[in-house]
Amino acid sequence: MKIFGLIAVLVVGALLLSATSDFPDWRDKDSPANKSPVSSFYIEKTEKLTKVPNMVTAVLADYRGYDTMFETVVIFIAGIGIIAVLRNFDGPYSSSIRRENNDEGSGLLARITCSLILPFIQIFALYVVAHGHHSPGGGFQGGVMLGASYILLALAFGLSKAKGYFSERRTMIFAAVGIFIYAGWGVLCLLFGKEFLNYSVLDSLLPGDVEMARSHSMLIVEIGVAFTVTAIMFSMYSNLSTRGRLNKGL
């Protein structure tokens, strides 16, 4: 087995290395990928068409928004997939919400530190979501940070306390609603008579002109992504850390 694996790996590596021979140089600004009309269109026209200086956000949420919707769906699938595989529901459904006497969680110092920094983490996460147009970040990164803040809460104060804020039912609703916001916004464009996710028709709905309509729609879409990612990150952690029993954390 090991030998077979080694041979296979070596063959694959040899193929790939042989292919690198006729690649354009690394950092070459005239490589086909870099001077192709597509990427130059993104770089040159983005700000004019969408008023979003962060091209990555623009491409992510507008030009290839269809991809990003499915990216969110992938996260969603992972979340409900983990529940479907691992979760074992014992007793009535509501029992997973009930508060236990939390002898869990970590020491006093950690709790105090967490209670001090958690607000800042969450505020920063919201900032990342909202400011993704102008700076690195966006719905996904912000969502992950928000979810991480809840994970931190669970680590410090025990899972049951965290579940008090973010029960399982609520995580599911949040996750579904996030995609609802995203896809629903696209369907709104459909209802206005243009293609799916064609934000430009919504300028009648949103303040500002067509470009601002695109920009605002991106913000809304990113918020949807943030909803889903936050919920799923937390439910991932809470299921994996308790073998799907959701009774007490690490």
């Binding site: 690195p136 992950v144 991480a148 991932m236 952690y237 850390s241 308790t242």
Partner: protein, 81 residues
């Protein structure tokens, strides 16, 4: 855009990857994998892919390490290889 950094980080990457795969203690392996993710996040920041770096910092070094450690805690810690 300094290629010296680039090369150094790449070399460290390979080392981190090998270590994390050779450690018999799965907890340690997960830790080293976190380091690996952090290194690669540095690499991307250095290559100008700030969004990717941000995401990797949040996901790779953050969440995926955490869930991996969670799994290690709830299963066995030592592995045979």
């Amino acid at each position: 855009m300094i290629w010296q950094f680039d090369i150094i980080i790449l070399i460290f990457l390979v080392i981190a990857a090998i270590i994390s795969l050779r450690l018999k203690d799965l907890l340690g392996a997960s830790m080293v994998f976190g380091i690996y993710s952090f290194l690669i996040c540095l690499l991307w920041a250095e290559m100008g892919a700030v969004d990717v770096a941000f995401t990797e910092a949040a996901v790779g070094a953050g969440v995926s390490t955490v869930i991996m450690i969670a799994t290690v805690f709830s299963t066995k810690r030592r592995s045979k290889d």
